[in-house]
Symmetry: C2
Subunit: 215 residues, 2 copies
């Protein structure tokens, strides 16, 4: 989720640099395959600094997921799609923003939480829960807009909670499938999935055909 840097300030202290290194290295190589030494080298700090700030590698994983939650939460909270008057436009605006964020190598737009939970859901409850907070938290940020849109358009047969989670499902799945592709083809494959998600919402909210093509 979210491009690699722009919206995240470059950290100056060792702890921040380690969290930033974790986000970058874990997205590319996964959690287990990223060693503490690699993290330290990439952050430009020593192992002493690492274990001064984090009790264990697992604790770093939890902190990285929390850091990720904060960064993405703040980014989406400030995004301009919230200003649309129509809640349907806000929901579609969120999807369009996610679409716009996809580009470059997969590790620059994929999700740390999704990557980590795949590896650690069984071995570390703490990491699993931190990743849940990140992903489900992201879903919840969209839930009110979806609920409002459902009422306005009279959508029944599902809930805003379920739909908001489905958005995250498609995003996470898009990242997984994009990773099966070589670098140049990956972004298109991810975007393709989000366009199907958009169309699903257009069906649900009965968006007229000409309006649905404007992205």
């Amino acid at each position: 989720m979210v491009p690699n840097r722009p919206f995240r300030p470059t950290p100056t202290n060792a702890k921040g640099k380690l969290l930033e290194a974790a986000v970058q290295l874990v997205r590319g190589n996964g959690f287990a395959a990223t060693s503490v030494d690699q993290l330290c080298a990439h952050a430009g700090v020593t192992k002493g600094a690492f274990f001064h700030h984090f009790a264990s590698k697992e604790a770093l994983g939890v902190a990285a997921a929390d850091y990720w939650s904060e960064c993405t939460g703040a980014f989406f909270a400030e995004a301009p799609f919230h200003h649309h008057a129509d809640p349907v436009d806000r929901v579609l605006g969120y999807i369009d923003l996610r679409l716009a964020l996809i580009g470059g190598p997969v590790e620059s737009f994929s999700c740390v939480a999704g990557t980590m939970v795949q590896e650690a859901f069984r071995s570390s409850a703490a990491i699993r829960i931190a990743c849940e907070a990140s992903i489900i938290g992201n879903a919840r940020a969209l839930e009110a807009d979806i609920a409002e849109a459902m009422v306005q358009r009279g959508v029944t047969g599902t809930t805003a909670e379920s739909l908001s989670r489905h958005v995250q499902v498609v995003i996470q799945g898009a990242f997984v499938v994009a990773k099966t592709q070589e670098e140049s083809a990956a972004p298109d494959m991810a975007r393709d999935a989000l366009r199907h998600l958009r169309r699903y919402f257009e069906f649900l909210f009965r968006v007229p055909q000409e309006r649905s093509a404007d992205q």
Copy 2:
């Protein structure tokens, strides 16, 4: 994808037992966190046997993805949903089968290829390509039915290739998000996502409301 055992014969030779061990352990712990020693212990063979059959751990990963492709390919090829006369019913039947396969702990219904590609897409091109073959191959198996259904219902604005891949996107995403949940809640979360996928296809293929509720 696909439950843990039933449709896979219990292997008798060392190679088969190692592949089976790989499927089970990688789904639970990921590829990097699964050691060769663990694999051997779980398969009941020694390290000598491992490196007799596989040149490296990476080669085992590739072989496991190929093994997975064969097993799932054969399973879905023989599934009864193919017998529906209406191509729309075949497509929805596939989704319903996938729904029915979800249950128990996540590592019993999730996908080895999706799990491995998340970790190895950057470090091992061979594994990435084997996982691509598995996931995209699974998509391709549904492509003809989707194409036929699109023609029959006059669906435009997308392609059968894109739609068949989207099915895999939702399935993979459902596994990721399910892994954020504790064991008892995971299957429901995964099923919820597939129900949205089903509804998307019902919209696309203009399935009447009463028929869409029969699952």
